[in-house]
Symmetry: C2
Subunit: 370 residues, 2 copies
């Protein structure tokens, strides 16, 4: 492995000159630069990142702290990761992911205090997230993906949940829906203080109230079974519901299964809108899900750019930015069958008595639409 010494010798210059053509920290004459570059190419020289990091106190490595629960990483997070990675590479940094959650504080402390990372991106931020403190104590510049309860003094990028929820509710209300149920994350998650769950809850309540409608929220675990249960519970509390807004991607599938089991068609009997869902996942369902698509890649890029500003300027100014998800209408949302008056419609009444047959007939008619 060639070192800088080798390059310097071969180009007949000093090591510092080689270093400076690499870093660009001071002007080098074109002739010298060419000699050095040629020598590098001939020797297939690659700088030693550890040596450079030790001398410059900059590892040029950014960490993306990404808790991995058993459910995996969704397409939404993936888009974020790829956006962040390409932004980092474009700036000459490496972006490494570390599957560190709120439970692995010791490993985080190790990683943060060993001066391996120039900065960190924190995903899945809780309202009270101990990782933020660990990173601050270790002096590692950080950008949050998400927000703590009081994010003053912290840079973050996050989804604009308020605008996202309102856009979803507006879409459904615009179609004529009045009885809309919101299937949120689990009660535990809410109790833990998971921001998206709390913020969407509040925004949903506000949006519905402003429309003169009654908000009903049902929490659901991150599983299909819980989605089924949530739908059952929703129908119990609101038998006339015509639309479901769901935050919980796993639950959505159970919810759809339960609707089908009950002979209820989507979107004719019940419209479904999925929040913060990638197109890929939305297309998995039958019919494909109308969804609020998250700006994952853009969030990743902005987060890295913000972080680099902090890293390179020795803590620059705070940057806080919210991006809304974008509504993408697919097959799972449509106008309600009987706008707010199901009993006046004889066919609808009939349908209620024998939903299976009726639903099957209707499905046959709409088959080719999906």
């Amino acid at each position: 492995m060639a070192t800088m010494q080798d390059v310097a010798r071969r180009a007949q210059v000093s090591v510092s000159t080689v270093s400076y053509v690499l870093t660009g920290a001071r002007p080098i004459s074109q002739a010298t630069r060419d000699k050095v570059l040629a020598a590098m190419a001939e020797l297939d020289y690659q700088p030693n990142a550890l040596a450079r990091g030790l001398a410059s106190r900059r590892s040029r490595i950014l960490g993306l702290l990404l808790p991995m629960d058993e459910r995996g990483i969704g397409a939404t997070e993936t888009a974020f990761v790829t956006g962040a990675t390409s932004a980092a590479v474009a700036a000459g940094y490496h972006l490494v992911l570390s599957p560190i959650g709120v439970g692995d504080l010791d490993e985080l402390r190790r990683l943060a205090s060993q001066r391996i990372l120039d900065g960190a991106l924190l995903m899945e931020v809780q309202l009270h997230d101990p990782r933020v403190d660990v990173l601050r104590e270790a002096g590692v510049p950080t950008v949050l993906i998400g927000r703590t309860e009081d994010p003053s003094g912290l840079s973050y990028v996050d989804i604009d949940f308020d605008r996202t929820v309102r856009a979803a509710v507006d879409h459904l209300v615009g179609l004529g829906h009045r009885r809309i149920v919101y299937v949120n994350h689990s009660a535990d998650t809410i109790a833990e203080g998971y921001g998206p769950a709390l913020r969407t809850r509040d925004s949903f309540t506000a949006a519905m109230t402003e429309h003169g409608l009654t908000p009903l929220m049902i929490p659901a675990e991150d599983s299909a079974a819980s989605g089924r249960a949530a739908l059952a519970s929703a129908l119990r509390q609101e038998p006339d519901l015509t639309a479901v807004l769901a935050m919980n991607e796993s639950a959505v599938f159970g919810l759809l299964g339960e609707l089908s089991t009950r002979g209820l068609t989507v979107p004719d009997d019940v419209s479904v809108v999925s929040m913060v869902t990638s197109p890929q996942v939305a297309e998995l369902a039958t019919p494909a899900l109308t969804a609020m698509t998250s700006p994952g890649s853009a969030l990743g890029r902005i987060a890295v750019q913000t972080l680099l500003r902090h890293v390179e300027s020795g803590d620059g100014e705070i940057h806080q930015e919210l991006l809304p998800c974008v509504l993408e209408v697919r097959g799972s949302s449509g106008p309600p069958r009987t706008p707010a008056a199901s009993t006046t419609d004889p066919e609808a009444a009939d349908e209620r008595s024998s939903p299976g047959t009726e639903a099957a007939r209707r499905r046959a008619a709409t088959r080719r639409r999906a």
Copy 2:
């Protein structure tokens, strides 16, 4: 940030003694060790990873090279990652993920030549994978997750696709199925030389032939739409099929949707078995999918242990290991309706002429089972 100097001074010993306490590379008297440890604790000393790496030529960082396509990382891969991470941490290493695919050879070369990684785990290995060469040229010890076409001289851990496919086929044949279709990954993927697609194809052919059955394989893109098309194509080529074995997790959902659209119930009309699928994803479907569960976490652990053996012994001996997936029977598989003789059954013949209505009737009957 305290340095080793500071610790040495405070403990009244030399820096080398402090270093030896840390590395254990030579015996230290208990008294001295205690002094040093106390000083470290008092100063909240953390070794500088870059300095240590430069001096020892060991970064103690392992890379997990994990291509991230737009579909995200499944629960299977996640289990692998967590298994690998905990094994690495237990050995005092960091495990960082880098979203590097076969397309990012330059970034890989950078990462590999900069001496940041002591070793690498390569996921989603292709039969002819250029990343292997890049890593070998850079002298980075590597363990494959998966196999190249000729893996001699390379350590790897992989799923035992042959045993997995045979177990799945045996399960279906044992239930009485004769017409079984295999929905594989896409034709492009196969052409590219993606190992799992090729190996399962061959094993499926062999297993079916050994049972005296005719193998039929249908390729499908990684999408629900393609899963629908694959089912349509399967029914065209094999109208009497009673079971589908699917490798492609995304396609499975489209396939299930298409079955439902056609009024075919699972598992009464068609049994479905999903390969290399996590319990979490299997539960998303309605009914829950009978699946071959991958040994993700164990694979991760074994891969890291193998890699560390290479790293620490300066290339130890080759280790190659295959682990099969385990069959987990859920609601999507059962005995076929008419064991291998559909034309002798009048009701079945009738069903063929008007599948929609007939199926709907049957569904009403089985509704409560799911």
